[in-house]
Symmetry: C2
Subunit: 259 residues, 2 copies
DNA sequence: TAGTGGTCTAGACCACATA
DNA sequence: ATGTGGTCTAGACCACTAC
């Protein structure tokens, strides 16, 4: 068993309990499981140990482990399947494909449209511009990969995007690789680079395209487009991707559920 | 005690358990609490009975009630406060004001900008156009209220919106009422009309304004704007508001967190 | 048949708020 | 001091999956 049987320390009853202190047991367990996920002890799509097993390992009750896993499941980091076990979430899973893509056709469903056709415009290694560096928590001038591509649905070019990735983690990324992989790009990132995106933030604006953008999307330069700037994070809130997209919204719309 | 002491029926062990059947106990309890919320037994902002009290009323354990309330809290229908109790959620609560408004200033915070200035353009009673009727689950031609207004932040007109409400539930709504109420419009709806919005769906597009829209927002007619069509629902997925907004995104942006 | 997660219970103790 | 929600445990049984 490669995972150390870490005994969870009780809060010393004599300690003055200063500062932030006090974290519920299940939060500590959640943290330990998270460490395993980060460390790659269990890879995306794999089964993690059963609740009973984790309870024995951490010397807590099954109920405490359950509550820890409940929170991980609520954050989409793992997926429970009754009768089978708990699995590390993956962007390759059929049910959650394109989890971060909120663009929907006005009629029908994205999955019915079939796979998007991808046209890679270029894939370069560059020095990070200041703004890109800032959003990726790099230093200005650090190496980054830049990919530009167009996604077409049903033959209609709909999304033009510019993807920026930390050069260190994505060393060796090629246009060929971006173009040939079937399925979500985020699934490829997991498989080829061991980088799993767990959440993202988007800033959305309405803009007009410049001449090049208009041509790539086959629209006039007076066609308003959605500008979607996304920063995607891996574990521990580490930013690992900046994606700047232009979406055509004449036949599609950005859909958002507010709770 | 106005709430009947409803005994929860066990699934008859002899019943053939056909069809969908089988709902966990805590889901049934959740449904019963929901009925109380819908019926207005406890109003927005009020305290609901303690877990122990509900457990006694429904003849189940406290743990089962807790799980029911956990789900209601996750859906923002109630709010728990340790040591005090569980409260019916309200749009008037300081912490969740403007829960459905995703527009943020590029620098700073909406709350720091102070209250929005509201300019009511008009407030009319109309017969519902076909599309409005469809989205509000009414019949074409049914009475609806229409409010048009401009919201300005720091003196800059930023949002132009058109609000459609079912005429029956919002009989008597006036421009004066829309303009004079301090705080979120949704809080006024709760207070004055007993209608609580619990979730919403938005469809977002990039558009260009027509002449009137451009003038009201003080932009040129070639300034791209966000078009945000929101349908807000009360309990039981009943649509109660259609709101069509145009957002300026030169100094603000629409912010979305992806999980 | 065995193992998994899902539900339900009962009881103990903790942290927080109020009187 | 009392009552609230929050945590933790232990054990029982249920539903689903696989062998």
């Amino acid at each position: 068993m490669s995972f150390p049987s870490t005994p969870v320390t009780d809060t010393p009853p004599t300690a003055p309990a200063q500062g932030p202190a006090f974290s519920p047991l299940y939060q500590q367990i959640k943290g330990l499981i998270l460490q395993g996920l980060e460390a790659g002890e269990w890879r995306p799509g794999e089964l993690i140990p059963s609740e009973m097993e984790l309870a024995a390992r951490f010397r807590v009750s099954q109920g405490t482990v359950r509550k820890a896993i409940d929170e991980l499941a609520a954050e989409n980091l793992v997926m429970r399947r009754q009768g089978k076990g708990t699995f590390v979430a993956t962007h390759a899973a059929q049910q959650v494909q394109y989890r971060f893509l909120k663009l929907q056709p006005d009629v029908g469903d994205l999955r019915e449209e079939g796979r998007a056709q991808r046209q890679i415009i270029d894939c370069k290694r560059l020095r990070a511009p200041a703004e890109v560096a800032r959003l990726l928590a790099l230093r200005s001038g650090d190496a980054v990969m830049q990919v530009r591509r167009v996604l077409a649905f049903a033959g209609v070019p709909t999304i033009l995007e510019e993807i920026w990735l930390p050069g260190q983690a994505f060393k060796g990324l090629t246009a060929e690789q971006m173009g040939s992989y079937q399925g979500p790009t985020y699934a490829m990132f997991e498989l080829e680079y061991g980088v799993r995106m767990v959440r993202a933030d988007e800033k959305i604006r309405a803009v007009l395209p410049d001449a090049e953008q208009a041509e790539l999307l086959a629209v006039s330069n007076s066609t308003p487009l959605l500008s979607v700037e996304r920063v995607a994070y891996t574990y521990n809130d580490v930013p690992m991707e900046l994606r700047r997209g232009l979406y055509r919204t004449d036949t599609h719309h950005y859909r958002n559920a507010l709770n």
